[in-house]
Subunit: 214 residues, 2 copies
Amino acid sequence: MAIKVHGNKMSTATMRVVACLMEKGLDFQFVDIDMGADQHKQEPFLSLNPFGQVPAFEDGDLKLFESRAITQYIAYTCANKGSQLVCEDPKKMSTVSMWIEVENHHFDPAASALTWELGIKPVIGMATNDTIVEQNKERLSKVLDVYENRLIRSKYLGGDWFSLADLHHLPNMHCLIGTQVKTLFESRPNVSAWYADISSRPAWLKTVEWLKET
Amino acid sequence: MAIKVHGNKMSTATMRVVACLMEKGLDFQFVDIDMGADQHKQEPFLSLNPFGQVPAFEDGDLKLFESRAITQYIAYTCANKGSQLVCEDPKKMSTVSMWIEVENHHFDPAASALTWELGIKPVIGMATNDTIVEQNKERLSKVLDVYENRLIRSKYLGGDWFSLADLHHLPNMHCLIGTQVKTLFESRPNVSAWYADISSRPAWLKTVEWLKET
């Protein structure tokens, strides 16, 4: 594999792909896309992703975009390297797929809005919109109530093993844990224990170190 | 398999699951959820999907929700029945997964908003919001420009074979083809030819017949 990740370290979707590569112990070349200069909305980036969103991914002649498709590719191609993040049994995998979709449709819209308002806007000198924050805290609370109930019965979202369904949450949770949203996680014991577990994985700690490198 | 689909015939997500079952030639029991009476927001439905959205799916003791996770389960479990909608090769499958995500993140938000405004609201006696219609026609146009360009080079979205990536589009396109949105499809020759192809599949024609049954 000669892997390239074209992305930005402030993008949770970029972090998602890098976290997956770290779980598999795969080397990659990082191509920094300057989103402040709108590089993702111009060529040559648009040839990698016509929707103009980071990250884009290359593995030899294969070109992909959409972070969750990229993580699935990595997880299936390197099934026997590092941590097993997917499984072959379609019945077991269906529960993982379901929670991947839950992250995609329920967790991410609220969490990404909060990451933008509370994690990114202050860094790039924009004003946080408190109404949007309150609306999305309410949405996220309802989602986390479902998670709290799920995690009573299951150590991880997709079952008794750490899978892509869990991994996909790490970037937004990492960005939000340093904000007022932290209380939404901490007030739910099972969500809190789950996050403590998944965020202390060596591969995630390496991802966090990688984020700090300039 | 003893399959039950709990859903509603006005729900495109329900149609997505049924279309997949039809491609595989699988029998199923349909449990009609009266959304007008908010049955999806109450028990016993909430035990099947705590997010209160149709469809929910049962196959013996397996319970799933999220339509795209359900179609993947059906496609992988019954890989050798009916049409092959996924493939084992991770590289080929990664392109299918990418277009599944594109439908999920780009096509569906605009198309579902339009289906609601133009396909469902008039039927249930609600007024269409023209501003929302215009905004989402603009969003959908940009998405379809990317599709038009993709379909110059590839017969189907995921490659040279009909896959879940194509199938997932059928319900919203079916609902929109009878509305003013039709022109967005018809004005793009490759999108138009692709839709003519996928919507004439016997399994989809059976799904449309099933929708008409009372």
